[in-house]
C-alpha cells in the first residue's frame, strides 16, 4: 500500500464512516431476535407446532406478529401493563452467572435452576427454608409396599404458560423425554443432555443400573412411576429443581433450542419467561393465571453478575434487590449497613480435604489421622469464614443430621497426637514428599481451587492455613493450583496426587447425594478409596423402605467412612445472602431453589 502520511486524517474519517455504515448490516442478523425472545412462550404454542415441525423459524415468525418491530408505537408498548395502583417496578435478582439453559431437565447449574424454579414447577416442592417435601403439581403420592411403584395424584385445573392444560399426559411426556433415549421429542441427537439422570437414577431407561422402568398415565390426573428397584426417596428427588415440568407443546416447538435464549422455557410456575438478553439478564413476568398465590411483584429480572464484589456493589448501589453467594467477609459490611440485610440460610454443603490413598504415605491410616489431627478446623472457620458456619465432623450437613452416626470420632485439633501418629507410622520428623504408584517420589502437593465456592470462598487463604498447620507437625506441602477446567479433568482422571481441596453443595434431601458421591466407586479413580462394605451399606440404605432401617444403614456406613478417613471434612459454611432492608418474603432454600413469588420490595 502506498500512501502519503498527509492523508491519515481522511483515512480515519473513512474508516469511521465505513464502520458506521456497516453496523446496520452486521446488526441485521440480530435485529429480529428481540421479537423472537419476547413472546415465544406467551403465544399459543399449539397453534404454531404444526408448522414448526418442519420449519424451526416458523414459531418466531408467527410470534413476531404479536410484538411488531416495524412500528414505533407497538414496539414501545410494555409487554405486561401494571395493574392499577400497584408498583410497576420489577424485582431484580443478582444471579451469580448466566444460565446455560432454561430447560430445567437439561441443566445442572445453580445459576440456571434458580430461574427454572420460577418457570417450571416440579411435582413436589420443598417447604420454605427446609428439605421437607410438600405438594406442588402433585397433591398426593403413594408408594406400593416395596417402593417400586409410585402413584401421584396431580393438581387439577392448572394450565401451562402457553395455555395448554397440565395433566397426566404432560407429566408422562416430560419424564419420557428425560429418561427414554429413543423418545421422539427428547432431541438428544441434537444436543439435549439430561445429565442429572445417571447421578440420581443410575442411568437412562434400558441401562443396567437404571432405576427407571416406565411412567404412565393412569387417568387424566394420575401418574404412575414403575421402577426396577425400590426407590423410597423418590419424592425427595422429584422435589429437586431438576424435575420441573415443561409445557409439552413448547418443548416440541423449541426442539433442541427449548431452554435457549431464543426460546426460553414454559411451565406452570408463578412467573412466565419474557426475554433473555444474552450476557445481561433474563426477564420474567408474573403469571396472572397462576394456580396458587400470585407473585407479589409484576416481574423479576435476573441479572448475570459473576463476580461477588460486583454483586455487592450493585446491591449497595441499589441496582439489585437481593443476591446470593457473596464473600464471607462481606457479611459484616452488609450487617452494618442501614439499607441492607443479611438473609440467613443454613449451610447445606461440605468443604473437604481429600487425601490420595493411591500414594504413600496416604495409604497409611495413621498418616491420614495425623493430618486430620493437625488441622485446626476452628481456626480455619474463624479466619476464612468470619467464624460463621460450623466445624464438620461428618460429610452430612445439619439438614441431614438424622443420618449421622451418633459416636463420631471428631479428630479435634491435637498436634501432639498427630506427631505421635506420625512417629508410629515411621515419620518421626514428618514428611515432605509423596511416592506415586509407579515409584516416583515428588514434593508433597496440596491443591487449592482457583475459583470461589460457598464452601471454599477463598480457597487460597485456607490452603495457606493448612500449610502452616501441617508444618507445625512436620508435614511440608507445596501449594498448587491450575485452571479450573484442568483441575476437574485431573481430579476425575485420578491425576491429582497428594492433598486436594474440593467441596459439594447438596441439591436434594438424600444422604447419598453427599455420601455415595464421595465414597462410592467413583472415589477409586479419583483418590483410591475402595471399601465395598461402604458401597453396599450406602446402596442398601438408599433402597431401604423403612426410614428407621435407612437411617441405621447410613449410620453404619458413616462409621466406616469416619474410621477410614479418605477425605477429611472441614466445615459446613453458609453461603452469604443479602437483600435490601425493604425486601420481604424471601425464604431461601438450602438446595438453592425457592420461589420468588412471595418476595416484595418497596421501590
Amino acid at each position: 500500500m502506498s500512501m502519503s502520511f498527509l492523508g491519515r486524517r481522511k483515512r480515519l474519517l473513512a474508516l469511521l464512516l465505513t464502520l458506521v455504515l456497516l453496523i446496520p448490516m452486521i446488526a441485521a442478523c440480530g435485529s429480529g431476535d428481540t421479537a423472537t425472545t419476547a413472546p415465544s412462550t406467551s403465544g399459543n404454542a399449539t397453534a404454531t407446532t404444526g408448522t414448526t415441525a418442519t420449519d424451526p423459524t416458523a414459531a418466531p415468525t408467527e410470534d413476531a406478529s404479536a410484538a411488531p418491530t416495524a412500528t414505533t408505537a407497538a414496539a414501545d408498548a410494555p409487554t405486561a401493563a401494571p395493574a392499577a395502583g400497584e408498583s410497576d417496578k420489577f424485582l431484580v435478582f443478582g444471579g451469580s452467572g448466566e444460565p446455560d439453559s432454561l430447560d430445567s431437565m437439561d441443566t445442572t447449574t445453580g445459576t440456571a435452576l434458580i430461574v427454572t424454579r420460577q418457570l417450571q414447577e416440579s411435582l413436589l416442592g420443598f417447604a420454605p427454608g427446609t428439605l421437607e417435601v410438600i405438594p406442588e403439581l402433585a397433591t398426593e403420592w403413594t408408594p406400593n409396599a416395596d417402593a417400586t411403584e409410585w402413584t401421584f395424584k396431580l393438581r387439577e385445573g392448572v394450565t401451562f404458560h402457553d395455555g395448554t392444560p397440565f395433566n397426566a399426559d404432560a407429566v408422562v411426556f416430560n419424564f419420557q423425554r428425560l429418561f427414554e433415549p429413543d423418545f421422539e421429542f427428547g432431541f438428544r441427537a441434537e444436543g439435549k443432555k439430561y445429565s442429572i439422570v445417571p447421578d440420581i437414577f443410575g442411568g437412562y431407561a434400558g441401562e443396567a443400573e437404571s432405576a427407571y422402568k416406565s411412567v404412565e398415565a393412569v387417568d387424566e390426573n394420575t401418574v404412575k412411576f414403575t421402577l426396577t428397584r425400590p426407590v423410597p426417596l423418590l419424592p425427595n428427588y422429584l422435589a429437586a429443581s431438576y424435575f420441573g415440568i415443561s409445557a409439552p407443546e413448547a418443548v416440541k416447538a423449541g426442539k433442541e433450542k427449548y431452554g435457549s435464549p431464543e426460546f426460553g422455557g414454559a411451565g406452570t410456575g408463578p412467573f412466565k419467561f419474557e426475554r433473555w438478553d444474552a450476557g445481561q439478564s433474563v426477564t420474567l413476568v408474573r403469571n396472572e393465571d397462576y394456580w396458587g398465590d400470585k407473585a407479589k411483584m409484576p416481574g423479576v429480572v435476573v441479572r448475570f453478575i459473576s463476580e461477588a464484589p460486583q454483586r455487592l456493589a450493585e446491591l449497595e448501589a441499589g441496582a439489585i434487590d437481593f443476591t446470593v453467594n457473596l464473600s464471607a467477609d462481606s457479611r459484616a459490611k452488609i450487617a452494618s449497613s442501614a439499607d441492607l440485610q443479611v438473609v440467613d440460610l443454613e449451610p447445606f454443603n461440605i468443604a473437604y480435604l481429600s487425601l490420595n490413598m493411591n500414594n504413600k504415605p496416604f495409604d497409611d491410616i495413621r498418616v491420614r489421622q495425623a493430618v486430620a489431627y493437625a488441622i485446626d478446623k476452628q481456626e480455619i472457620l474463624d479466619t476464612s469464614y468470619s467464624g460463621v458456619g460450623s466445624v464438620a465432623d461428618d460429610f452430612l450437613p445439619d439438614g441431614l443430621a438424622d443420618y449421622r452416626p451418633g459416636d463420631l470420632e471428631s479428630y479435634a485439633y491435637d498436634p501432639e497426637k498427630a506427631k505421635a501418629l506420625l512417629t508410629e507410622a515411621g515419620y518421626p520428623d514428618g514428611f515432605s514428599t509423596m511416592v506415586l504408584t509407579d515409584g516416583t517420589e515428588l514434593a508433597l502437593e496440596l491443591w487449592y481451587m482457583p475459583v470461589s465456592r460457598p464452601y471454599y470462598p477463598d480457597a487460597k487463604s485456607v490452603a495457606e492455613l493448612y500449610a502452616a498447620q501441617l508444618e507445625d507437625v512436620g508435614i511440608k506441602v507445596e501449594l498448587k493450583t491450575e485452571d479450573w477446567g484442568v483441575y476437574l479433568d485431573n481430579w476425575d482422571a485420578g491425576a491429582k496426587n497428594g492433598m486436594v481441596m474440593l467441596g459439594w453443595t447438596g441439591d436434594y434431601g438424600d444422604p447419598n447425594n453427599f455420601l455415595y458421591t464421595h465414597f462410592g466407586p467413583g472415589n477409586v479413580d479419583e483418590a483410591g478409596y475402595s471399601n465395598p462394605d461402604v458401597w453396599k451399606l450406602l446402596s442398601d440404605a438408599g433402597a431401604a423402605t423403612s426410614p428407621a432401617e435407612s437411617i441405621a444403614l447410613f449410620q453404619q456406613a458413616g462409621k466406616l467412612i469416619n474410621a477410614d478417613l479418605p477425605r477429611i471434612p472441614i466445615v459446613h459454611a453458609p453461603p452469604v445472602l443479602a437483600a435490601k432492608q425493604s425486601l420481604t418474603g424471601w425464604v431461601p432454600n438450602p438446595t438453592g431453589g425457592e420461589s420468588f413469588a412471595p418476595i416484595s420490595v418497596t421501590k
Binding site: A27, A319, L488
Partner: protein, 346 residues
C-alpha cells in the same frame, strides 16, 4: 485501479486463513476438556464422549487420514461452514452464534466510538491548551494527569469510578446498557442503543443509554485520551515554532485564528495517525472495560467463550471480528483514492 482492488481483495484471503489457523489451534491447545465444562462436574465419561461425538469434535484436526474423506476434519468443516455463513450454535446455551454476534458486536462498537469521541475532543483540547500555556502550572498539571492516565490500569480506575459514582453518590449506573424497565419496552434496530433510540424516536432510550455509557466509556477513553493529549501538545509546539506561524502573527491575524487555522490543522496530521492506531487499542481494551462494567459486548463474550472452551464461539467470533476489520480496512484503503485525489493506485 481495478487491478489494485482485485489484488487487495484477494490479499484478504491469506490473512483470514492465517487468523483462522491461529485461533483454531490456540483455543484447542488450552488445557481443559470442553466436555467437562459444558456438561458440568457431575457428568459421566460416557456423556462426555457422546457430546464430543455429536459435535464431531472426535474427528482429526486438520486432515483426515483415518480413511474416508481426507477433508472430513474439524478445521475444514469450520472453514467451509464459516464461508457459508453457518457459524453454528454456542456449546454453552445452544444459541445461534450469528444472533449473539449481532447483539454484541454493535455494543462494543458503540462503546468504542463514544470512548474515541471523548478521547479526541478532550485530548485535543487539553493538548492545545497545554501547548499554548507551555510551562505554566496548567500545562504541568495537564501533562501530569495525562501521565497518570497512561499508567492507570483500566480495571482499577473502573472499579474506583463505580464505587464513587455508583455506590457512594448513586449518580450513575454501575453496569448494563439500559435500565431494566426501559430495555423491555424497546426493540433495537442496530443494537447501538444511542442510535436506536433516535431511530425509534425514543429520546428516553438514547439518554438512558448515554447515562450507562458514561462510566465505561470514560474508563476506556483514559489511555487514548492521555496519549492524544501528549501527542497534540508536542505536535502543536512543533508547529507553533514554524515560520508560517510567525508570519501569520506578523500579518496581524487574531491569535485564535492563528492557533486553530494555521497551528492546529497542521498539528492534527500526526495526531490523526495516533487516533487511527487507538481505534484498535479501544477494541482490545474493551475486553477489560466490558468485564468491569458488565457490558454485554464482544470482549466479555469471547472471554467467556475461552473460559468455557466454547470452541465454536471463539473460532467463529474471532473470525468474524477479523473479517469485519480486514474488510473495513481494505474498503478504507481502496476508497482512499476517492477521498484524496493526490493518491494514485497502480
Amino acid at each position: 485501479m481495478a487491478g489494485y482492488i482485485l489484488r487487495r481483495v484477494l490479499g484478504i484471503i491469506p490473512v483470514l486463513l492465517g487468523i483462522s489457523l491461529l485461533v483454531f489451534t490456540l483455543i484447542r491447545t488450552i488445557p481443559g476438556d470442553f466436555a467437562i465444562i459444558a456438561l458440568g462436574e457431575r457428568s459421566t465419561p460416557e456423556q462426555r464422549a457422546a457430546l464430543t461425538k455429536r459435535l464431531k469434535l472426535d474427528r482429526p484436526l486438520f486432515l483426515n487420514f483415518e480413511g474416508g474423506n481426507v477433508f472430513d476434519s474439524q478445521y475444514i468443516s469450520f472453514i467451509t461452514n464459516f464461508v457459508q455463513g453457518d457459524f453454528g450454535d454456542s456449546l454453552k446455551n445452544q444459541r445461534a452464534i450469528s444472533k449473539e454476534l449481532g447483539e454484541r458486536f454493535p455494543a462494543t462498537i458503540e462503546l468504542s466510538l463514544v470512548s474515541l469521541l471523548i478521547a479526541v475532543v478532550l485530548g485535543v483540547s487539553a493538548g492545545v491548551i497545554s501547548a499554548m500555556r507551555r510551562g505554566s502550572w496548567l500545562d504541568a498539571s495537564t501533562m501530569l494527569i495525562a501521565l497518570l492516565g497512561v499508567s492507570m490500569p483500566i480495571f482499577w480506575l473502573g472499579l474506583m469510578m463505580q464505587y464513587l459514582f455508583g455506590v457512594n453518590l448513586k449518580w450513575l449506573p454501575l453496569s448494563q446498557r439500559l435500565d431494566d424497565e426501559l430495555r423491555r419496552t424497546f426493540t433495537p434496530i442496530t443494537n447501538m442503543y444511542v442510535l436506536d433510540g433516535l431511530l425509534r424516536g425514543r429520546l428516553d432510550i438514547t439518554l438512558n443509554a448515554l447515562k450507562h455509557l458514561i462510566l465505561p466509556s470514560v474508563a476506556l477513553a483514559t489511555v487514548p485520551l492521555a496519549i492524544i493529549a501528549r501527542m497534540t501538545r508536542s505536535a502543536m509546539l512543533e508547529v507553533l515554532s514554524q515560520d508560517f506561524i510567525r508570519t501569520a502573527r506578523a500579518k496581524g491575524l487574531r491569535e485564535r485564528t492563528t492557533i486553530i487555522r494555521h497551528g492546529l490543522r497542521n498539528a492534527l496530521i500526526p495526531v490523526a495517525t495516533v487516533i487511527g492506531l487507538q481505534l484498535g487499542f479501544l477494541l482490545g481494551g474493551a475486553v477489560l472495560t466490558e468485564s468491569v462494567f458488565g457490558w454485554p459486548g464482544i470482549g466479555t463474550w469471547l472471554l467467556q467463550g475461552i473460559l468455557s472452551r466454547d470452541y465454536f464461539v471463539v473460532q467463529s467470533g474471532v473470525m468474524f471480528v477479523a473479517l469485519v476489520f480486514v474488510v473495513v480496512n481494505t474498503i478504507v484503503d481502496i476508497s482512499y483514492g476517492f477521498f484524496d485525489p493526490r493518491i494514485q493506485y497502480k
